[in-house]
Amino acid sequence: MIMRAYAAFIYAFLYFPIAIIVIYSFNVGRYAMDWQGFSLQWYGTAWNNPFVMDALKNSLITAGSTAILSIIVGTAAALGMERVKSAVLRQSFDALVYIAIIVPGIVIGISTLIAAVTVFDLINPFLASLFGGNAPPKLRLGLWTVIASHVLFNLAVVVLVVRARLASLDKNLLEAAQDLYATPFGVFRQVLLPLLLPSIVAGGLMAFTFSLEDYIVTSFVAGPYSTLPIYVFASIRRGVTPEINAIGTVILVASFTLLIMAQWLMRREE
């Protein structure tokens, strides 16, 4: 009984702040925590705000590209590592994956920023001399640096998720397929891929969510490029209107849906 009351308290603690955001997104008044009546006007304001829509578009492009690239590169690496026998190589690869996860986002942002700026400083004069003219092509911070940094940490997540699944896989199925003269690619396409698909999709959904919600890494490497978290952070700093709550509610509903889908996929395979 006490345990149940405690659990109820914890759920209230976890969901109360989320409820506050959702409730105040329907507020008429323009100040947070000052309820004036029900309206949907702030959803309209957000929808008609070109900065919000632009940031949303950028966020979806970034998260989509990050998820796809992380899935492809991460799954390939997880499959490849199964074939590596050398303990030294395996441990070195594990070390890379864990470094990518342990190094805090803020340091990944900083190091990507410094590396990108260093590389750009080397390449841009070369591009300028190559093309000449008034406006030679120039590498700068933006979409590509954001995607690169996001893929880096999400790639490690996909590798871990897919490898966990590979480890629990019944290897006899693969042997059976090979005994039946399936080509290696056939084994992959008809046996391995269907078995791994739930974990690949789950890893992809996680990558999509992480990328969509990341503020700190993006803030370092985005340059003038704006994503939704960048916009939300700047607005919270400027002083907020319920427009932020409206955007937040949409983000929360979207990420809840994605996460529950990912959870469901991961559990179904167990």
């Binding site: 976890l14 989320i18 690496a77 190094v103 190091s111 790639l155 919600e213 937040g248």
Partner: protein, 310 residues
């Protein structure tokens, strides 16, 4: 990378033949080339986007600040000797992060115990997912919500109605602590839950059959056996808290700041990159020491290798 992918198709055909004959050792090396192709892109990315940049940060940390901001080449330990200039950020991080981790254990343990032992198996999965889901939703928004709740129009305003005037919660170490417990509770519950669920219930029955009181069987059987879960949760919480930026920015409001806030300031505002690089290196070193200590603890405790970290 590119070189390999050009050569690959020519060698593919023989690989297939070998693959067919190896039915006894199926997933073993069909050819090193295919393996290199599969692992290559990931390793290339890790190398160019992680290892190399970290080396550049390390080199920067021995440099000097250029007059216009940024980096000027040099070899000096000045930046490291000067870390004390941001001592407050290190102090706040290194006191609040362990404290918050400890408080999170206190709140998470009973919850994990409820989920693993007390609640009906029918609801268990759903209740567990409900605990985890907030952790994966926008950190920015959840801390923003706490900014509203703890801010002057939130809890203090309601306390004032009860004639408790002049309470200030936001921008104190306490508000950062609340935020940290809130933010990392799910991450702590999960590993403790896993260790409690794996626990052999027969051991507790045995202890009680031998006359142990419930309190004693908890302290001498359940708690020691769930220590690996507590260690995993603590390590995850601690390293993520150490690198936290949004939490102190929102709930500490410039008064209670962490190393992460110092880094943002050094790189994006005052543009002292070499000093910032030294601060970043110090942070990374503290984290690796923590993880190393954790690994040693878990390996000694359970003797299990390949401890899942995530």
């Amino acid at each position: 990378m590119r070189e390999i992918s050009v050569r690959w198709p020519a060698r593919q055909a023989p690989d297939l033949e070998i693959g067919r004959k190896q039915s006894l050792a199926p997933t073993v090396k069909r050819s090193g080339l295919v393996t290199a192709l599969l692992v290559g892109p990931a390793v290339t990315m890790f190398f160019f986007l992680l290892i190399l940049p970290l080396v550049v940060v390390l080199i920067y940390s021995f440099g000097e600040r250029a007059d216009a901001g940024g980096y000027a080449p040099a070899f000096t330990f000045e930046n490291y000797l000067n870390l004390g200039a941001r001592g407050k950020a290190f102090f706040n991080t290194l006191t609040l992060a362990p404290l918050a981790t400890f408080v999170t254990i206190l709140f998470a343990y009973p919850m994990a115990y409820f989920l693993a032992v007390k609640c009906s198996p029918k609801w268990r999965t759903m209740l567990l997912v409900l605990v985890i889901v907030p952790f994966w939703t926008s950190q920015l928004l959840r801390y923003y919500a706490w900014m509203l709740i703890l801010g002057s129009k939130g809890v203090p305003a309601y306390l004032a109605m009860l004639a408790i005037e002049g309470v200030r919660i936001i921008n104190t170490p306490f508000s950062v602590l609340i935020g940290a417990v809130y933010g990392f509770l799910p991450l702590m519950v999960l590993p403790i839950y896993v260790s409690l669920e794996r626990l052999d219930k027969g051991l507790i029955e045995a202890a009680e059959d031998l006359g142990a009181t419930p309190v004693r069987s908890f302290l001498q059987v359940t708690l020691p056996l769930s220590l690996p879960g507590i260690a995993t949760g603590s390590m995850l919480t601690f390293i993520l808290l150490m690198g936290e930026f949004i939490l102190p920015a929102f709930l500490g409001g410039g008064k209670v700041f962490f190393i992460g806030n110092a880094l943002v300031d050094l790189f994006l505002q005052s543009r002292n990159w070499p000093f910032g690089a030294a601060v970043a290196m110090a942070l990374v070193i503290i984290m690796f020491v923590t993880v190393f200590a954790y690994m040693r603890f878990v390996l000694r405790k359970s003797g299990v290798r390949n401890v899942a970290m995530v």
